[in-house]
């Protein structure tokens, strides 16, 4: 599925270092003019096309070159100076680090001023969507069993029915998925049951995924009974609705991870004005209070604290703690220890 892509240096025909990163998807939306807005993003085309079309309706003269890659590759590309005008990522830690390390340009507009404090940092990084991590279950595969509402109950469920869940539990491979890593590290600090859950999952031959899309697909087909820490975007919810009850989304009551999808304008950006205009559009949809049918959920109200009392992961230097190679190595070692008990 992944296409091994070459650096944008080649695509753009610009002189510069040859950068290599995996391009998962890429599409060019031509505009009437010569200006091209180059976006690097972690959001699939399926999710993001409506935003791009809305933008082109406002600014038909601007063509859009949209490249999808993993959050780690995205961060590496921006660090290497790849000439993108806008970077959209679900890995807020990596995005934050880019801003912190001086790889982002500051941007200010009336709409960024409307953004609550917790949804931006220093006019460098802007959150435009808040998404929660959820548990997705296949109702057929856990028929007859109580639906867990907390991690404690999930642990009990998995532990008490090892045969039924063997090989049928899925979660992020935190070594590969930046988002999974962020969720896992955040969880280890927020709740002490994370490691116990990891150990219980580890004994059940867990299926590890790079991305939430595949995980949801596998729950839908019944390959997985339970997928833990899936990004509960609207796509997952729609799938749950369409499946006629077969796929169910469970929100944990003890603790919920809420991630902010963020945008930065890279230091190397050339189409700064167009990038700002697209950020404004994204923020407008992020700040919406109506139930418009945009693919990504809005930021939500009341200071980022949702109705259940959970607030999004904070944009701040603490995000960089687990990006430190020493910490990452230590965390992954512990995680592997728990997950891979063959």
């Amino acid at each position: 599925m992944r296409i091994l892509g070459l650096a944008l240096g080649l695509i753009l025909g610009l002189a510069g270092p040859v950068l290599a990163f995996e391009v998962e998807e890429q599409r060019f939306y031509p505009g009437t003019g010569t200006r091209v807005l180059r976006i690097i993003s972690t959001a699939d085309l399926a999710v993001f096309t409506p935003y791009l079309l809305a933008f082109q309706q406002q600014r038909p003269d601007i063509g859009i070159d949209y490249t999808v890659t993993s959050s780690a590759d995205l961060a590496a590309a921006i660090r290497d100076g790849a000439p993108f005008d806008l970077a959209l990522s679900s890995a807020m830690d990596l995005q934050f680090q880019l801003a912190n390390d001086g790889f982002a340009r500051s941007y200010r507009s009336p709409i960024t001023a409307d953004l609550p404090d917790w949804a931006r940092w220093r006019d460098l990084i802007f959150a435009f969507s808040a998404e929660r991590a959820v548990v997705v279950v296949n109702a057929e595969r856990i028929a007859g069993l109580p639906l867990p509402a907390t991690r404690q109950e999930l642990i009990a469920l998995l532990r008490d029915h090892p045969q039924r869940f063997h090989g049928a539990v899925g979660t992020y491979d935190v070594r590969e998925s930046g988002l999974g890593y962020l969720f896992a590290t955040k969880e280890t600090r927020s709740t002490d049951v994370y490691w116990r859950l990891a150990e219980v999952m580890g004994r059940l031959d867990p299926q590890l995924y790079c991305c939430s899309g595949q995980m949801i697909d596998d729950v839908a087909t019944g390959r997985l009974a339970v997928a833990y820490n899936v990004l509960g975007s609207y796509a997952a919810e729609r799938l749950a609705r369409d499946s006629g009850g077969r796929v169910q989304i469970l929100r944990m009551e003890d603790f919920e991870n809420i991630m902010l999808r963020t945008a930065i304008i890279p230091r190397m950006a050339q189409q700064v004005e167009a990038a700002g205009a697209l950020i404004d559009l994204l923020l407008e949809t992020g700040l919406r209070t109506t139930a418009d049918d945009w693919p990504l959920p809005p930021l939500g109200q009341s200071g980022g604290v949702d109705e259940a009392g959970f607030s999004p992961i904070r944009l701040g230097p603490a995000l960089m703690v687990y990006l430190d190679p020493l910490n990452r190595r230590a965390f992954l070692a512990e995680w592997e220890n728990a997950m891979e008990q063959r």
């Binding site: 001086g102 703690v321 230590a330």
Partner: protein
Amino acid sequence: MTPTGSIGRRLTLLLAGVAALLSFLSWSLVTGLAREAAERTQDNVLVASATTIAETLRSEQGEVRLELPYSAFSMLDAIGEDRVFYRVTAAGALLTGYADLPDPDKALLPGRVHFQTGDYSGEAIRMVAVQRVVLAGAQPVPVTVTVAQTRQGVDEIATEMSRLAAALSVGFFVVAVGLSAIAARTSLRPLNEIAAAVSRRGPSDLRPLRRAAPAELAPLMSALNRLMDRLGQSIRRSEDFIAEAAHRVRTPLATVRAQAEIALHTISDETERQRMRGIIRAVDESSRSAGQLLDHATVAFRADDLARDPIDLADLARQTAATLEATAALRDIRLHLDLVPVAVAGDAVLLDSALRNVLDNAIKYSPEDTTVTITLTTVGKMGRITITDEGPGLGDGPTEMLTERFRRGANTAGIVGSGLGLTIARDVVVAHGGHLDLQHGEHGRGACVSLVLPLA
């Protein structure tokens, strides 16, 4: 006198200037202190962060190990949205973090915190470095933990506090200016009070000022009192001098007149007698002038500090008429008095002098065997003494001119006079708050002179 600016305004401006200076000083002081406080807070947070990291250092299998504690980073956004950089080196080799972070500019001592300000990644940063010696195997390894942060939060706090301090300083200044104006007015009040007290005084009130005055005004007060004392003395001297002069003129004149009178009786030659009468007349004129001058001077002095004794004008008219009875009788002139009691407040000597001069005129200018009438009436709040005669009247010219000094009418041929009589009468009634009324008599005959005085 041209005022050379107001002390009050100068004082207010001076105090306002001082207030402006103080406001500015306090603003810059607060701004500086706020920045200092914010910087210190940042330093404290940085120290706490670096120390927290240093505390997690340990050695495992002869190697220095470390895990960055979450709190070491989460505390760093306490001040503001500042970029964070860090580095951990063991014996000079990078363990983790930003390799190109500036090195400490001094040798580090274990247990001592090193502060440093510098530039990194295009921004000013504050850096804190701590060193800890970790035993890796048998080898003590110095490990340096450096945590750095940009200073945007500090700048923001400082700017905000500076703005707040500016607003407060402006407020302080406005209040201070208001208070300055009040203070200036208050401190000038004794001066104004003394000025008011001095100007309230009568023109001849030369008593020394006896007021409690601030020490700064004491020299002014004593100078003023000395001046008034000298003035009083000189006035007294000239008063004495005039009286003395008039006296000295009159006494020899009286002698001359007596001698001339005797000589007149002893000589029989008609031309000689005529000459002698001329001498007597001239002496009379001189004597009259000297007396009138003395009276006029008396009026001037007594009017300055006018006595306000209760006086019944009827009594006064009777007494004055009595003293002139003989003069009138010599010329067969009858004095008719038509009196009612009229009470006024004033100086009996002056009023007598005024009335005597007017009555003197009436007798002097009337032909023999006529009647002079003195009538007392009250009109509204004024009392009026009217002297009517059957003489030649005041003439055709404007009557006011007759009150001018040394002004005599056209009808005075052969009649002794100095031209000061009506001047004295007018000055006396004016000093009493009244006026002199000069009218022609009824049917174009005689004069009708009134002294109009306010009732007591």
